[in-house]
Amino acid sequence: MEAVVAFFSPIYILMLAAILGYEIISRVPVILHTPLMSGTNFVHGIVLVGAMVALGQASTPLEQAIGFLGVLLGAGNAVGGYFVTERMLEMFKSSKAKGN
């Protein structure tokens, strides 16, 4: 039974997270589509964490090289995604007082 629970719990996580992602997007005004695409682009930058683990476990030069590349790309995704999104959303800040 425990094995069954262990097998199904990630599937439940997957299902609930999928519904959540759908819900978040479905109420977004058109004007925020580009920033939000950029924002989700930043969120999958969490791949950096996985790449760090992969590099941390690497034991041969080849694994180290691939892991290094992974961390480099993951860091690029996270950092670049953040600043692009931030720059876009920065523009909405000045208009705060106008409501909506």
Partner: protein, 469 residues
């Protein structure tokens, strides 16, 4: 340590979810990305002490990790800070590609690694292979999308990448990649040759998929690759048993898929239509020939027409973005408003290179939200507009979409600019739009063409209106 890390990952997931939630409202949007940013920093910091790393403690790997983060981070930071706002879509594409590449790299390390102490189970192997393939496709596809939007010379001519039997060849490449992936997973093959070939096929498929697609369709494609990367991250999260990656990846996968569908819908095309049928193959034949002549107008004359209009609707397009004309345009609008005119902005869902692209630029110039209208909200109002000013928009105002069944864009919802009493079109030259077709609007009797760079023309209009006192 494991509990601390899982707690932080849990917190990170909450911060991501709340951050995205806040990003979906204009007034809280900026704080949303900051919240998500805190989540990312926390997750990254605790991961240095991840048990899966500390079990293999290796100073060299830590040093490599720090160097890689520094290099990747600094390059991406410099790129994101320095590019002009108009280049944002391709920046999203390239950073997305990096994420896909990172997911593929994780899979490569996992597949190559010696797991003889704890053999990987079949579900893990299948997930790793699937994530690797999706990540590799997202990587090469995003790089091509970047090249197209950046208008790099190599990618410029979409037609040269179209050839007979293309879809069959693409399907064959994809099929070969899947078969090879299954062989690797089922036998847990650590053969470097097989794995290299597998990745090369995945990369080739991503590039082949994106190469023949025209630039006008790129937003949909980037959005799709964004969803792909999310999925690849989630799959590799499953492989590593990393809950933060699973949750974040799946949220991006599902929201990205929905966003892709919404964009495709705005263009009245299905996603498969965007991906598998190229512009050239669309339409039932030659588009109807456009009759009439282009009637040019100088900015001072355009300014007079504008100044005496009671209602003006501005239709911005990619040309405004290229010329960075949004500030000048808004300055002109403020003059018109002072003179008592009603000014509204009409935004087509796919104006520019991404949905919301124009809104971002107008927000940058300080245009209040309540003057900006979506297509459905404003389309009925064009007949009451004295002047509709089209700034560097083309396909989204082409009446052929409404009435020419042979046109490749037939059926796409458009802004009914041709119903306005007068139309002014600011355009760089006489060339055709991104879809490569003539626009009957430009030849209509009530249309005047104001040629030139949008920013210079706007400056000319401002001067003209001021001269009237």
């Amino acid at each position: 340590m494991g509990y601390l890390i899982e707690t932080v990952y849990f917190l990170t997931a909450i911060l991501f979810i709340l951050g995205l939630k806040r990003m979906s409202h204009p007034t809280t949007a900026r704080s949303g990305i900051v919240w998500a940013g805190y989540g990312m920093v926390l997750a990254t910091l605790v991961s240095f002490a991840h048990p899966q790393i500390t079990a293999h403690v290796s100073v060299a790997n830590y040093v490599l990790m720090l160097i890689a983060i520094a290099i990747g981070g600094v390059i991406a930071w410099a790129g994101a800070k320095r590019v002009p706002m108009t280049a944002m879509p391709q920046m999203i594409a390239i950073y997305n590609g990096m994420g896909g590449g990172a997911a593929a790299a994780i899979a490569a390390v996992e597949l190559l690694k010696d797991h003889s102490a704890h053999p990987l189970t079949l579900d893990i192997l299948l997930m790793a292979v699937a994530g690797a393939l999706i990540g590799a496709v997202a990587f090469s596809g995003s790089v091509v999308a970047f090249g197209k939007l950046q208008e790099l010379k190599f990618f410029k001519d979409d037609a040269k990448f179209r050839f007979a039997g293309q879809q069959k060849i693409n399907a064959a490449i994809f099929g070969a990649a899947v078969v090879l992936g299954l062989i690797i997973a089922l036998n847990h093959s650590t053969s470097g040759l097989l794995i290299t070939l597998f990745f090369l096929l995945g990369l080739a498929f991503g590039a082949m998929m994106a190469l023949p697609i025209g630039g006008a369709d790129m937003p949909v494609v980037i959005s799709l690759f964004n969803a792909f990367t999310g999925l690849a991250v989630a799959l590799e999260g499953y492989v590593l048993g990393n809950s933060a990656m699973i949750i974040a990846g799946i949220i991006v996968g599902s929201s990205g898929t929905l966003l892709t569908l919404m964009m495709a819908k705005a263009m009245n095309r299905s996603v498969s239509n965007v991906l598998f049928s190229n512009w050239a193959a669309l339409g039932s034949g030659e588009a109807q020939a456009v009759t009439g002549s282009l009637k040019p107008m100088e900015p001072p004359d355009a300014a007079i027409q504008m100044a005496y209009a009671a209602k003006v609707i501005i239709v911005p397009g990619y040309g405004m973005a290229v010329a960075q004309a949004q500030h000048k345009i808004w300055e002109m609008c403020k003059l018109l408003i002072e003179r008592g005119a009603t000014v509204k902005f009409a935004i087509h869902p796919v104006a520019g290179r991404m949905p919301g692209h124009m809104n971002v630029l107008l927000a940058e110039a300080g245009v209040p939200y309540d003057l900006i209208f979506d297509m459905e909200e404003i389309n009925e109002e064009f007949p009451t507009a004295d002047v509709a000013l089209v700034i560097g928009a083309n396909d989204v105002v082409n009446p052929a979409a409404r009435n020419d069944k042979s046109s490749p864009i037939y059926g796409m919802p458009i802004l009914n600019v041709d119903h306005a009493k007068n139309v002014q079109v600011i355009k760089r030259g006489k060339g055709v739009g991104f879809a490569g077709i003539e626009n009957a609007l430009f030849f209509a009797d009530n249309t005047r063409m104001v040629y030139g760079d949008a920013q210079k023309v706007a400056a000319g209009l401002i001067q003209g209106i001021k001269d009237l006192g």
